[in-house]
C-alpha cells in the first residue's frame, strides 16, 4: 500500500497531423497512398533524406516525457496556454486514449469529467438523463437512485424534472449536467475546465462542492484557465507548455511565474508606455498613447504599490467636446474589477476637450493596487449621456512588490488586491 494516487513516467503522446486535421480518411486516400507511397519514399531517399517515412506523415508530440506524482488526497491544478497538452494528459489518465510512450499507474477508482453533460440526450427528460449520464460516468444504478433527490436539489430543477432537456434553458441544462457529475464519488477525480460554465452563483456553488470533496480527502486533478479557482482549490500546480512540464510546485509560485510570462508576451511597448495608436480621424475621440509617469514627469520603468505616479492619457478629438469625462478601470486577469475611477461624475471634474490633441493626467498620491497583474481599461464619456469610447482590455499592467509597511512583507495578489495606508493599535479594554 502506498500513498501515491497517480504516478506517471515519461508519458508521451504523438498525433499524426494529417490524421487529425482531416478528421477521417476515405478508403480512396488509403489506396492512393498505398500505391504512391513507395515511389514518394524512394524519391525522398534518393534526394538524400535518411528517413523517407518521417516526411510522409507529419507528426506532433502533444505530450512529451511528462512525469509527475500525485499523492493521495492532494489537489493538483494543471495550467498552461491553449494547445499545451493539458486535455491530452487528462484523456490519457482517464484511459480515453492511449499514450504513445511511457506509462501511468493510477491507484483507485477514477472518475473523469472532461465535459459536463456527456451523453445527454435532448429528447429524454431530466430524470431519464440523470440515469443515463450517471451510468455513462460510471455510477451504478443503485447509487444513482440513492442520490437522485440530492442531484435534483443541487441542480434546482425540481419542476422540470420530467420535461425533455431540449426545452431546458442552457443554464438549467448545465446545472443538471454538473449536478450529476458532482455526485460522482470516485477516489480520484479528473476535471477539465468544467467550471467555465454556468452563471456566477452556480459556479460558486460548484466550487463549494469541490471544496467539500477536497476535505473528504479525494485526490483531484484539475485543469482550468480560471487561475483564481486553481489558487483557491489546489495546493500544488503543474504548468504545461508545448507538451512538456514547464514547472511544478506550490500553486502560488507556479501561478505567479505563469502570469509573468503571459503578460510579458503581450506588450510590445517600451517600459512605461501602455498603449499607442495612430490618430483616427473617423472617431470623435480616440486614444493616442497611454503612459505611466513619476513625480519628475519621467516614464516609469516599473510601478510599485504605494508609488506616487500618474496615468497620462494622450487623446485626439476630431471636434470640440464639452463636459467630457475620462474613466480608468483596473481589473484582475480573471476579470474582477478592482478599481474604477472617473473624472466625472465620481471625481467631480468636468473637462472641455479641444479639437485636436490633448493630454489628461490621473494622479495617484499613493498607488493602491497590491503587487500583481491587472488589466487596464480606459473610457471617454459624456456622463449620463453616451460613451465616446470604451476599451475594457487595453493593456496589462504589472505592479511590482514593495515593502510599503516596512515589515519585510509586501501586499500582493492573490492574497489581497489593494493596499491602503493604515496602522494597527492595541486598544486595552478597561475591566
Amino acid at each position: 500500500m502506498s500513498d501515491i494516487a497517480i504516478n506517471t513516467d515519461n508519458l508521451s503522446k504523438q498525433y499524426r497531423l494529417g490524421g487529425r486535421l482531416h478528421k477521417f480518411r476515405t478508403l480512396r486516400d488509403t489506396l492512393t497512398d498505398f500505391f504512391t507511397l513507395p515511389f514518394r519514399r524512394t524519391k525522398s531517399l534518393l534526394r538524400g533524406k535518411p528517413d523517407g517515412a518521417a516526411n510522409m506523415n507529419q507528426t506532433i508530440w502533444a505530450l512529451r516525457e511528462v512525469s509527475f506524482e500525485v499523492k493521495r488526497g492532494e489537489v493538483v491544478g494543471i495550467i498552461g496556454p491553449n494547445g499545451a497538452g493539458k486535455t491530452t494528459l487528462l484523456k490519457i489518465l482517464s484511459r480515453i486514449t492511449e499514450p504513445t510512450e511511457g506509462f501511468a499507474e493510477i491507484h483507485g477508482r477514477v472518475g473523469s469529467l472532461l465535459e459536463v453533460g456527456t451523453g445527454f440526450h435532448p429528447e429524454l427528460t431530466g430524470r431519464e438523463n440523470i440515469y443515463l449520464n450517471g451510468a455513462i460516468l460510471g455510477m451504478k444504478k443503485a447509487e444513482i437512485e440513492q442520490k437522485f433527490d440530492e442531484i435534483v436539489d443541487f441542480a434546482e430543477i425540481e419542476k422540470f424534472i420530467d420535461t425533455p432537456v431540449k426545452h431546458y434553458s442552457s443554464g438549467m441544462y448545465v446545472r443538471l449536467a454538473f449536478s450529476v457529475a458532482a455526485h460522482l464519488e470516485p477516489e480520484i477525480l479528473i476535471i477539465d475546465e468544467v467550471l467555465a460554465v454556468g452563471d456566477a452563483a452556480f459556479q460558486r456553488k460548484c466550487l463549494g462542492k469541490m471544496r467539500d470533496d477536497v476535505k473528504e480527502g479525494r485526490t483531484v486533478l484539475f485543469v482550468s484557465h480560471n487561475l483564481a479557482a486553481i489558487d483557491k482549490l489546489c495546493q500544488k500546480a503543474i504548468w504545461i507548455d508545448k507538451g512538456r512540464i514547464n514547472m511544478s510546485g506550490s500553486t502560488v509560485e507556479v501561478i505567479s511565474a505563469y502570469e509573468k510570462t503571459t503578460t510579458d508576451r503581450k506588450s510590445g511597448y517600451p517600459p512605461g508606455v501602455l498603449f499607442e495608436a495612430p490618430i483616427n480621424e473617423k472617431q470623435r475621440c480616440s486614444l493616442r498613447r497611454i503612459e505611466v509617469v513619476g513625480t519628475n514627469d519621467q516614464l516609469l520603468q516599473t510601478l510599485h504599490t504605494g508609488d506616487t505616479l500618474a496615468f497620462r492619457i494622450h487623446y485626439h478629438c476630431s471636434e470640440k467636446i464639452s463636459s467630457a469625462a475620462f474613466t480608468l478601470d483596473f481589473s484582475t486577469p480573471m476579470g474582477i474589477r478592482v478599481l474604477r475611477l472617473s473624472s466625472s461624475p465620481l471625481g467631480g471634474v468636468y473637462l472641455d476637450l479641444p479639437k485636436g490633441e490633448g493630454m489628461v493626467d490621473c494622479i495617484f498620491e499613493w498607488f493602491p493596487l497590491a503587487a500583481g497583474i491587472y488589466k487596464l481599461g480606459v473610457g471617454i464619456a459624456i456622463p449620463h449621456r453616451e460613451w465616446l469610447l470604451e476599451v475594457r482590455d487595453l493593456s496589462d499592467i504589472t505592479v511590482s512588490e514593495k515593502d510599503v509597511y516596512s515589515s519585510g512583507f509586501s501586499p500582493q495578489c492573490p492574497r489581497t488586491l489593494i493596499a491602503a495606508q493604515h496602522s494597527w493599535q492595541h486598544v486595552h479594554l478597561k475591566s
Binding site: 500500500m1 478508403l27 482517464s94 480515453i96 486514449t97 510512450e101 506509462f103 451523453g119 443515463l132 460510471g138
Partner: protein, 276 residues
C-alpha cells in the same frame, strides 16, 4: 480498505489484445442504459411511432407477395406466399436494422467516445440489442398472420430462441467489423445500405432455399442468414425439409465473424478516440 484499491496501468498496447470480457460484464448497466436510450429515442417525434417496426417488414411482404408470389409465381414450399415471406422478413429486419445501426454506432456516439472511458464494445452491442423491441412487435404480427392462415407452430418452436440468438450473433459480428472500419473509413456509411440490399436478395426470403440441390443448399448456409431464415420457417411454419446442416454451417460462420470482429474491434479500439 485502501489496500484493495485497484491499480490501473495506462500504457501503450501492442498487437492483438484480450477482449476483456470481465470488464464488459462490469459495464453491463451501461449496456442496459444505452439500449434503453436507443429504444426510448428511436420513435420520438414520429407520427406513427412504434408502428414503423411493423410497417417495414409488413409492406416488404406485401410487395414481395405481389411481384414474386403472384406475378413471378415463385414457389413457397407449399405455404401461402405472404406468410412464407413474412416469417423470413421478421428475423431479416432485425438483422438488417441491427447491422445498420451498429455500423454507424461508434460514429454516432463520437461525443461519448471522445470524452468518457468505457469498453467500446458496449456501443455496437447496445444498438443491436435495442432492435429486439422492434422484433417482438413484428413477431406479434407474425403470430396474428399464422392464426389467420390457420397455421400452428410445430414442436420445433423450442429452437426459436437459439435461432434468434443466431440472428443477433450474425448482426453483431458484421456490425463490429463495419463499425470499427467506419471510424477510419467513412466509406462504410455509404456501403451499408447497398450491402443490406444485396444481402437481402442473397438470402432466401423471396424464394425458398429448396430451389438448390444438395450439397449446394448446405453450402448456401455460409450466408448465416440462410440458416436463420430457413430455421424460422421450419420452427414456426413447419416446412418439411429440416434445415439442420444449413444451420450448423451458418452457426459456424456467424461465430467466426463475431469472434474475428470482436478481436478486430478491440485492436482498433485504442485509435477510436483520436480519429472518430
Amino acid at each position: 480498505m485502501e489496500s484493495d484499491a485497484p491499480v490501473i496501468v495506462v500504457k501503450p498496447s501492442k498487437g492483438w489484445i484480450s477482449l476483456k470480457l470481465a470488464e464488459l460484464w462490469k459495464y453491463r448497466e451501461l449496456l442496459y442504459f444505452l439500449t434503453w436510450r436507443d429504444i426510448k429515442v428511436r420513435y420520438k417525434q414520429t407520427i406513427l411511432g412504434a408502428a414503423w417496426a411493423i410497417i417495414q417488414p409488413f409492406f416488404t411482404m406485401v410487395v414481395f407477395s405481389l411481384f414474386f408470389g403472384k406475378l413471378a409465381k415463385v414457389p413457397s414450399d407449399g405455404l401461402p406466399y405472404p406468410i412464407f415471406a413474412y416469417a423470413a422478413l421478421v428475423p431479416w429486419t432485425f438483422f438488417a436494422n441491427g447491422l445498420n445501426q451498429s455500423s454507424n454506432s461508434l460514429v454516432g456516439n463520437a461525443n461519448l467516445i471522445r470524452k468518457v472511458y468505457f469498453p467500446r464494445l458496449v456501443v455496437p452491442f447496445s444498438s443491436v440489442i435495442s432492435g429486439l423491441v422492434d422484433f417482438v412487435l413484428a413477431f406479434i404480427v407474425l403470430i396474428g398472420m399464422m392464426l389467420v392462415y390457420g397455421i400452428f407452430p410445430t414442436i420445433n418452436i423450442v429452437w426459436l430462441p437459439l435461432l434468434l440468438l443466431l440472428t443477433l450473433v450474425s448482426g453483431l459480428g458484421v456490425g463490429l467489423w463495419l463499425s470499427a472500419l467506419n471510424v477510419q473509413f467513412r466509406d462504410v456509411r455509404y456501403t451499408v445500405p447497398f450491402l443490406i440490399q444485396f444481402w437481402l436478395f442473397a438470402t432466401p426470403i423471396a424464394y425458398p432455399s429448396s430451389l438448390l440441390s444438395e450439397p449446394w443448399r448446405t453450402l448456401y448456409g455460409i450466408n448465416p442468414m440462410v440458416g436463420v431464415v430457413e430455421g424460422f420457417r421450419w420452427a414456426l411454419l413447419g416446412t418439411d425439409t429440416a434445415p439442420g446442416p444449413i444451420i450448423v454451417v451458418s452457426t459456424l460462420v456467424a461465430s467466426a465473424i463475431l469472434v474475428s470482429g470482436a478481436f478486430y474491434f478491440k485492436r482498433m479500439e485504442k485509435t477510436f478516440a483520436d480519429i472518430v
